[in-house]
Subunit: 388 residues, 4 copies
Amino acid sequence: MPSRTGRHFLQIPGPTNIPDRVQRAIAAPTIDHRGPEFAELTLRLLPCLEAVFGTSGPVVIYPASGTGAWEAALVNTLSQGDRVLCFETGHFATLWHRMALSLGLDVDLVPGDWRHGADPEALRLRLAADPRHTIKAVCVVHNETSTGVTSRVQELRRTLDEAGHPALLLVDTVSSLACIDYRHDEWGVDVTVAGSQKGLMLPPGLGFNAIGERALAAARTARLPKSFWDWQPVLDANEHGFFPHTPATNLLYGLDEALRMLREEGLPEVFARHARHAAATRTAVKEWGLEVLCLDAREYSGSLTAVLLPEAHDAEKVREVILDRFDMSLGAGLGRLAGRVFRIGHLGHLNDLTLAGALAGVQMGLQLAGVPVPSAGLDAALDVLRTG
Amino acid sequence: MPSRTGRHFLQIPGPTNIPDRVQRAIAAPTIDHRGPEFAELTLRLLPCLEAVFGTSGPVVIYPASGTGAWEAALVNTLSQGDRVLCFETGHFATLWHRMALSLGLDVDLVPGDWRHGADPEALRLRLAADPRHTIKAVCVVHNETSTGVTSRVQELRRTLDEAGHPALLLVDTVSSLACIDYRHDEWGVDVTVAGSQKGLMLPPGLGFNAIGERALAAARTARLPKSFWDWQPVLDANEHGFFPHTPATNLLYGLDEALRMLREEGLPEVFARHARHAAATRTAVKEWGLEVLCLDAREYSGSLTAVLLPEAHDAEKVREVILDRFDMSLGAGLGRLAGRVFRIGHLGHLNDLTLAGALAGVQMGLQLAGVPVPSAGLDAALDVLRTG
Amino acid sequence: MPSRTGRHFLQIPGPTNIPDRVQRAIAAPTIDHRGPEFAELTLRLLPCLEAVFGTSGPVVIYPASGTGAWEAALVNTLSQGDRVLCFETGHFATLWHRMALSLGLDVDLVPGDWRHGADPEALRLRLAADPRHTIKAVCVVHNETSTGVTSRVQELRRTLDEAGHPALLLVDTVSSLACIDYRHDEWGVDVTVAGSQKGLMLPPGLGFNAIGERALAAARTARLPKSFWDWQPVLDANEHGFFPHTPATNLLYGLDEALRMLREEGLPEVFARHARHAAATRTAVKEWGLEVLCLDAREYSGSLTAVLLPEAHDAEKVREVILDRFDMSLGAGLGRLAGRVFRIGHLGHLNDLTLAGALAGVQMGLQLAGVPVPSAGLDAALDVLRTG
Amino acid sequence: MPSRTGRHFLQIPGPTNIPDRVQRAIAAPTIDHRGPEFAELTLRLLPCLEAVFGTSGPVVIYPASGTGAWEAALVNTLSQGDRVLCFETGHFATLWHRMALSLGLDVDLVPGDWRHGADPEALRLRLAADPRHTIKAVCVVHNETSTGVTSRVQELRRTLDEAGHPALLLVDTVSSLACIDYRHDEWGVDVTVAGSQKGLMLPPGLGFNAIGERALAAARTARLPKSFWDWQPVLDANEHGFFPHTPATNLLYGLDEALRMLREEGLPEVFARHARHAAATRTAVKEWGLEVLCLDAREYSGSLTAVLLPEAHDAEKVREVILDRFDMSLGAGLGRLAGRVFRIGHLGHLNDLTLAGALAGVQMGLQLAGVPVPSAGLDAALDVLRTG
């Protein structure tokens, strides 16, 4: 029976492992957030951050979680009673939907089976049924963290364009930014929502809104009450490198370093690495004779893989055994998937051998929990890593 | 001409200097925020945090700044159009007032001269003029960070009680918590708002609401739209040591350590230390022949001292000289005090010799900036430190 | 082709991976090494350190590497021209032998094939041939870091005892302390030499001598010139918690924390963990159809496994591929083993999944370097980890 | 009575305060000391380190304290029975003298009063009395850490040159390197000894020998036994960026960063800063009516100031009060100065306000300990800082 030693394997789909460089950056002394050194930091940061979103436009940084950034996206662009279209792609899409309701929006939810992304055809039909453009915004979770399904944002945009529908496109990239190819400007997204604790390799505590021009225009007339989340004071203060609220200085140090690391690796290489690790993971799952929750190969997630267990087995039991015996954290099944799936995060600061160790742990844990899986799973994953 | 070396003197009234112990605690690896180790952390934290607020009731922690916690206090207890009473004690009171307006509240502002705290007599008159109890909440900044004036919260409470007025008492303790004596329960405060980056000796990034029973009751009927800030899901999840949103894990590590440090020192000792450092600072100011902005000795702040310069001098010039020559950051005059005052923070992780160094820097900086002050200022401050 | 990201796999046989807790302990501010806080640290440390050596006697800490601690063992116990018996168990034994020569000792070297430990029978013969007890010391490397062979110290001791020979027994435990069962007192070792950077999970920079009573007695008459290495001033100063030279304060912080971690896990559990990881590794090697360098199962090392490649293959090529493709450092073949073996360190702060990842990397690297090994190697290792 | 909080004032003459940047550099993960990344580090480091010594020649780095580096200087250049000339400038000179004796050298000690540096005239006389050049080395402590007296190395060199005497000049710069102007090559020093924990702003744990050509030549014939300290294997391995022993990797990270900081500030600026802080300190001491131990203004130390108390007072009492009341560590009187002096370190990572705080603490502590000193001391020091 092994003891608890060595480095914990944090293979949940976020928060992810903080690189040592980032950890040390964060541990620097806090400085005056109204002084010249701070302004330099902000003005150096912002363009690099924008590049990660694929935008030349503004990105607002909140000292808040990604959930807060969702709220910011809504309250800056919408007014009480506005109609909003959400897609039930999984647990987080459901939460965002619930938030929209709480804020007093009129929300249509396109139902889903939690195994597919937002359906462009369903969107087409909803838009066609809205000739008077009462739908003000379409909310999509790019990579659904609860299911490991990546919606095809480009196709959704095309559908909006083809319908000539002016609804804003709001996209949650909390678990895809800096993991899965994403382009705010090129894809015509209006507001991109993100957080610090996944592909950006930081602890939780920063939320982001990348804001397109149409969203900025919408913000001028949006009437949902807002103060903390209001974009405008942030945009104004950012001009000179400052913030209207006290910024999370130490996380900004970390962000500065994390952005440096992403530039060093190169965004295309970052995306390719995630895709490769995801492919290796799915290969293992399939060789184990288990099911990847995501049913459409076009929607496989580069960030995480949700594994569906046969009915007879309890995914929570598997997670417990793995935590207990191998000191590895995996993601639980959320909402209606509770007990049915576990989720392997393979995003952020990760490399082949850590993934190999993680998959070895999953394989051994499944076996110990009584889910009979062959060792061919890991072998096949290693083939992908070795040859890919 | 000195070079930039040694440790920066961060003597703004927050963010404050992070103790090494806290810095290192924050640098620990992020863990699974849904795992058992995290739950232990939360359940260990919360009672200790409550003790700092002087409450046995719940304290909600947000991954957000203190400004966010202001918003939380309002949206959880009030409804659109509710009448709220604010006191214009300084810049931050004004910002909170503006926030209340933005959120759709009907705000009465008791004007002030920025040199006094919230006036109990003014409150008495306002309450007397409100026999039908249309005022739903009274918002007070305990320690006004822009002026160094500490309002007498207990007297305000007594005034409310004597008037038999049911308005909630919401108090901002961002720059007083763990610096200046404060007792949420004993003083009958309904919501106490705080942040991490001052007396709690953490980087910015956590906001707090201590919630009294009357506020919890009010929350049940409050109708301002809310989601991220909603207390209830946090209270529910906290029961088991979790959070509904992704918590700022690494700052919670820091909070755990900071609370340990506060317990080691003892809250009464923490308050006495701040009072002593404040007394030494005011002594220096007076011996320099300058004016402490705060005019009422009962309202002197233990956290910071705002120094008013004679008309002929520019406080910004003084701050620049001090930053440039002595690598010390002081607080600027904010709002209507811009250029007229500078602020010396003496809160958080501070000791006699650091304060002595800071006051030496202020004295030399004033002299270099052409404000003729005698060295008796520092001498007198040292007398206080030596004998106090 | 993978990018360089994630945590480096440091699987050399030391320095080993520093636990986060230790890293953070080391980053604490340096204190006055002549003050009361420092004395407390030393007096707390020393008994815990002694327990790890299995001794109740003194352990001297040098601000130096393990090599320095070798020198200390020799110069404190021996005089110019003294006869010393060394065993050629591998590269490090050879270096120690060379050091003894440099210091002016008369050294007999028992030749060896670098695949066995120090041979008790050879020792018996040498002692038998020395009726006049001209041999003053026997130097043995407990775990030979260059070969992964662990000498049977207890049997060597017994041989000395049976021969009634008074030679001192000096043992190098640089790569076995806190990895492989070792008992200074019980086994009658006279001087145990160790370093910080292996089982103690610290960066390099501390060397140790555990000193038995006979060695202390020998030190009184030993005449090799010495000053820095002289035990006596250290022992005298340690009485009060101090050191005669400036101690490596920050590494002592780390040592304090590492000793805490070892106590938490329990030394028997630490040894069992190392043995288990070593067994898993050897299982992989054998299933790969490769040879473990160590030929005697009684001498298998718990700390590292040296893998002998077939003649046709270049071990350096394998290491290069693995470093390049999988960002893992393995140990090179040293001295006469250069190019023939590579060494897998599995000591220090390690767990099952990290080992699994490391073995996966070795397997893939061998395959990429053209050494045809079956994936059954890793599979078999995982069987050990899963069932062991 | 103040509590223990805020940052400790470490004003001993070393170890000095570690800059945050250096602390964080040291906390990076240990890497393979035989890998390419390590070689890069060494090869980047060494030229920068040489520049700090003012030499183009080799500097050997030991994973050891400065005391060890003393021993290295002796055993590499001298043979048993060689005659060596030492100057009794203070406690550390005495220790070095004692070490030379322990190593079997024949040592002449020029007596001293511990208030002056090594006397060039005394040297002239000793050399004149040695026409047969039996003196093989002259050992001088550049800055005597126990007294705050800086010997005039250039004059000593000139004296040797004028005498045409071939003795090697060995200089200890443990507390002067990167504090006080020093030039190994230009001044014709043969071996310069240093440590990491003072002007280099690192924790203790590295010792240095800068080696001139004549010393290298001497090393070829020196016969004192040596192994760990032997220069040659280090010089050989350094060619390729490696070390023959396990190097103190994490301290080398810190050294890399510290050297970067010194380059950023500029060595002339570093020296000027130290001189300025020393001048301010002496000004305070004189205004307090106390005596600076150093009697010759040409020999004032830039690194520390030893303060001599009137007979009636106990310096240890003063230090205790200051540690207890103001959490500041000062240096004790060592050897024959015990109880008579205390030492203020003003070296390393220091700035004006920290020095001001330290001097304020000394002033208050003296007063509390019953040594009547006027506050004019600190005032005068501030005048120096303000105008200098």
